[in-house]
Symmetry: C2
Subunit: 280 residues, 2 copies
Amino acid sequence: MSQRIDGHPYPMIQALEQYRREGQTIGFVPTMGCLHRGHQALIEASRNDGNLTVVSVFVNPAQFGPNEDFDKYPRDNDRDYELAAAAGGDIVWYPDVADLYPADAQTSVRPGALADKLCGISRPQFFPGICTVVLKLFNLVRPHQAYFGEKDYQQLAIIRRMVADFYLEIDVVGCQTVRETDGLAMSSRNRYLTEADRDTALTLVRTIEAARRAFAEGERNAAALKTHLTKAWPKDLELDYLDFREPDFLEEEHQLKAETRLFLGAWLRGIRLIDNAAIG
Amino acid sequence: MSQRIDGHPYPMIQALEQYRREGQTIGFVPTMGCLHRGHQALIEASRNDGNLTVVSVFVNPAQFGPNEDFDKYPRDNDRDYELAAAAGGDIVWYPDVADLYPADAQTSVRPGALADKLCGISRPQFFPGICTVVLKLFNLVRPHQAYFGEKDYQQLAIIRRMVADFYLEIDVVGCQTVRETDGLAMSSRNRYLTEADRDTALTLVRTIEAARRAFAEGERNAAALKTHLTKAWPKDLELDYLDFREPDFLEEEHQLKAETRLFLGAWLRGIRLIDNAAIG
């Protein structure tokens, strides 16, 4: 049975205290709701690791910019509950904005250089907002393990860094990107895509596949490969970045290695699309 | 018997784990060393609250500006150990810079509006640096109670705020300012004062006493009192601020109340002096 908790965290904290006393480990999957199979894979991973699994559903205002889609970000709490429960989530928690950002709250987390690149350039409030809410959630849930998708690889790297820098006793688990049958990385924003958009949106995963093929055929020069990959870029897909980076500090890689990751960010009619993968 | 631990935190964490299992509460007094009776009063308060008491001694580079006195900040670990032990500290821990700021560390805490006033104006790195190291120390020591002096009242208010905003389960205890027999607030930097400086430095506590007298005699107008208090200000005491503020968010107070605090910051030959007290 999954338990649904709306609002204030204390019922959840009390429920978890009981499980903790019984020696149960806690797994945590923080989400912005609008769940899809990618989130369900995180919940399943936590369950497979033997955790009592908490799923939070919270659209975090701090990570949206003034002209971004906070207000129209999709919300469907009942459907999210069903999907989280079906994947094995034990507690599904819906904090209100006032529970995580009371009027007097003013302290925040400032991630370092990892947040100043890729998605951080066009969205400077994004990673500080994520780190702040994730630290709050971590301190309330106090999980043993926390699960994040590799689709948001920069977020995963920044949260790993925060956990290390602040000496949090949490094992951060990265889980493989889940894709639609056509290869598009699962994302809550995919629902905004029309049929006509879809083919253009698939440019991201096709570019990753092309990079992997080129690497397999011996290409090691990042600049040359980038030129090749952007040659036939669709006009209506506004490219934000296409970068080859090493996996820990996301420094640019000039000489490609198997663990080098290709990072892609773009907008299609204002819809944010990102994807990434190791090229080897 | 007091235990001295140099460097890496893990021996301390292991020692504390044992005490915690035995049901012992942990009290924590973070210091920058150069201990005096003010620090000893914090250690004694923790002991009186029944805590196993951890004292950290760490001169935190992140809270010093480029032209401030980090390098020449006084350090005397052996003497600090004796003073901490004499006051009843159970564990005295001296982390190295590399223990709290490893080369890869990059995540920090950004306090909010509370840090943008008083000492935060002339020293913008000060409170972010303090919050960052205190959060790291809190997460390593995981105390039940933590003790801070009211002499650094703005620091106390900012740390209370951080603890609330980040949902840390720590009771932050503020302790009254300890003063020399002549009234000067205890400070590690007092040793820099010559006999001739001393009388000038006492301007701060004399100003507080004058404000308290004026309030007792019925003065309620902050601006008028400020004009009165600064009329005969010594030329060689460079005034940074003299402000009446409410005690929680340190907002300026125009109409004086008993709980209104007078905050003073100044430099004497480059030596930083601060003091504060409730005027009622």
